[in-house]
């Protein structure tokens, strides 16, 4: 498979890139729609199609007549649809976040979690349950995960400030150090309260899972995510330039420090938002931008949209696997992405070491 990928990337013709985009968009559509046909409860494909069609405004009621079996519409509309759409949004955000973070850090082995998002979100999530906070209603965990994630990234950013600038290697090292520190606190809290570790909510959150996502949490997260990804997509030129070094970017007129603040803020907001509802889904942000670069070359004009599409596709497929592998049980999706992602990443690394990324 990689030979084909590399042959594509070596030629980098516009129309080839366009064809790959069309194929990946179609693949995502097919995967997302057909995912609704898979599930713990068997619902016949005809019923699923009818339920789909019945949701279309204005003409939907023509299709709802035949649906008579109890709860089936609810399963599709309130469970499968938000889970699949959740996987799409989360995958897209992690893919785009990975592409942006790798550009800013000029480093192919970085991902959004490295700037403190994952450890901060975990702290918020575990804290909400350990302390038994309910001030924010049923979504206390999600809100605290989001707030702590943003807080820890902010903390790392300010720790890294050196006379008005944030040297990016410094921020990376600070991020790793602070993340280890915060993760230790999380581990201590888990260790210290035995009933906490077994609380299924925390367990599923730490494993990463889209199975609990509801429309009520998905909608605000999706809006934040789409807005962030849209704004990030306006900065592809700047993000290409900063890959060549901050000094070079400045010399061609890019306001590097503002770019870093804007891009880090948008990545933090969108990734924290999706992590707050799904927990820690690993390796999407690391691997997907690389696949995009192999397919389309290095420019973010293509890498960012491609990472959104392929991230979404990857996560939808991972969700299908997670529901099929030991059906009727559903495996937390983070376990699946790790199981697929890690071997794939090691394979990728060996390929990279074989010359593609060698300097």
């Amino acid at each position: 498979m990689f030979k084909t990928l590399r042959r594509f990337s070596g030629i980098q013709e516009h129309n080839k890139s366009g064809t790959i985009f069309i194929i990946s968009i179609l693949a995502l559509l097919v995967a997302a729609v057909s995912s609704a046909f898979i599930g713990v409860v068997y619902i016949s494909p005809i019923e699923v199609s009818r339920i789909f069609l019945s949701q279309i405004p204005l003409v939907g009621h023509y299709f709802s007549a035949g649906i008579d079996i109890e709860h089936q519409p609810e399963i599709i509309v309130y469970l499968r649809e938000p889970h699949i759409l959740g996987a799409v949004i989360i995958g897209a955000v992690l893919g785009v976040g990975g592409a942006v973070i790798q550009s800013i850090f000029k480093n192919p082995i970085t991902e959004p979690y490295m700037i403190g998002i994952s450890s901060g979100a975990a702290l918020g999530a575990v804290l909400s349950i350990a302390v038994g906070l309910t001030i924010l209603g049923v979504y206390t965990l999600q809100v605290l995960a989001f707030i702590f994630s943003a807080l820890i990234v902010g903390l790392i950013y300010f720790f890294s400030l050196r006379s008005g600038r944030v040297p990016i290697v410094y921020m990376l090292l600070t991020g790793i150090a602070v993340s280890v520190f915060v993760s230790s606190i999380v581990a201590f809290m888990l260790y210290n309260s035995p009933n906490l570790a077994s609380t299924s909510e925390v367990f599923f959150w730490l494993m990463g899972s889209v199975d609990t996502i509801t429309w009520a949490e998905l909608i605000p997260v999706a809006l934040l995510s789409i807005a962030s990804m849209f704004i990030l997509s306006l900065y592809t030129k700047e993000l290409d330039t900063i890959q060549l070094g901050e000094d070079y970017a400045r010399s061609v007129g890019v306001k590097v420090e503002s770019l870093k603040i804007i891009a880090l803020t948008l990545v933090t907001v969108s990734v924290s938002a999706v992590v707050s509802i799904s927990g820690l889904i690993g390796f999407v942000g690391l691997v997907v931008p690389h696949i995009s670069r192999l397919l389309h070359g290095g420019s973010n004009r293509k890498v960012i949209p491609s990472s959104a599409i392929l991230g979404a596709l990857f996560l939808v497929l991972a969700y299908d696997v997670s529901r099929l592998v030991i059906a009727p049980k559903v495996v937390p999706i983070g376990i699946i992405t790790g199981m697929i992602g890690v071997p794939f990443f090691i394979y990728l690394l060996r390929k990279l070491a074989g010359g593609y990324y060698a300097d």
Binding site: N107, P108, L244, Y248, S251, V256, G297, G298, S299, Y357
Partner: protein, 249 residues
């Protein structure tokens, strides 16, 4: 464009640069020479506002660079760094697109310039897969494409083969003749001699000599800079510098 540098000083660890003052007019080439570690790159980076000097000021057409926006500065000064690395596989075309970030009329010129330099076959290559010399050429084309009032070049001649070297030196003369300014760091004294109007010589961060090419490229100055001995002769109007190992006395 008029570049004025007055009384620039900078220090990092035990290295101290300056005070350095210099001025460059439009259509003028200033060469900067000196041994490794003498502060040439540092001086260039301070002029580009990539580092802040501890003292002194730099003005471009009378405007202090501290008061200019990043975009305005990039319209005045283009930078050819000592090296450029693309860790995430930008193509040659992407690198050249980056160079015209501040330009209003984009893309239109890029294909022209790619054709003019005969690098069509490099256009879609991964920048990192180029040879050292090809990279330097692409970077120079990028710096020219930026269309700034002056180009500041840090050792543009490294890794170049004979043909490309002649091409690059000719290019510098073309930029000069188009009324733009060039500040260029070069080690090769004969290249300095052949393209520079003025030369500034640095050693351990101190200005050893600054003046016209004829004034600076003399054995007395060169022997203060390097531990070789020098002969300088004028052959059919141009200077020729030869270095020899100094006899032990």
């Amino acid at each position: 464009m008029q570049i004025e540098v007055s009384g620039i000083e900078y220090s990092v660890n035990r290295f101290k640069l300056g005070p350095v003052s210099l001025s460059v007019k439009g259509g003028e080439v200033l060469g900067i020479g000196g041994p490794n570690g003498s502060g040439k790159s540092t001086l260039l980076r301070i002029m580009l506002r990539l580092m802040r000097p501890t003292k002194g000021r730099i003005t471009l057409d009378g405007v202090n660079i501290d008061e200019m926006s990043q975009r305005d500065l990039s319209r005045k000064l283009a930078y050819l760094p000592q090296n450029l690395f693309s860790p995430l596989n930008l193509s040659v075309q992407d690198v050249l697109l980056a160079s015209e970030y501040s330009l209003d009329k984009k893309n239109a010129r890029l294909d022209d310039i790619i054709r003019r330099y005969g690098i069509e076959e490099l256009k879609h290559r991964d920048f990192n897969s180029l040879s050292g010399g090809e990279k330097r050429l692409v970077m120079l084309i990028g710096a020219i494409n930026q269309d700034a009032g002056a180009i500041l070049m840090d050792e543009p001649d490294t890794f170049l083969d004979v043909d490309k070297e002649i091409q690059v030196m000719q290019e510098i003369m073309d930029i000069r003749n188009s009324g733009r300014s060039v500040i260029v760091i070069l080690h090769d004294l004969n290249k300095l001699a052949s393209i520079c109007d003025n030369i500034l010589m640095l050693r351990s961060g101190q200005v050893v000599a600054y003046g016209s090419t004829d004034e600076v490229l003399v054995p007395e100055v060169l022997e203060k800079m390097y531990s070789a001995s020098f002969t300088v002769e004028r052959i059919s109007g141009s200077l020729r510098v030869d270095a020899h190992a100094r006899k032990k006395s």
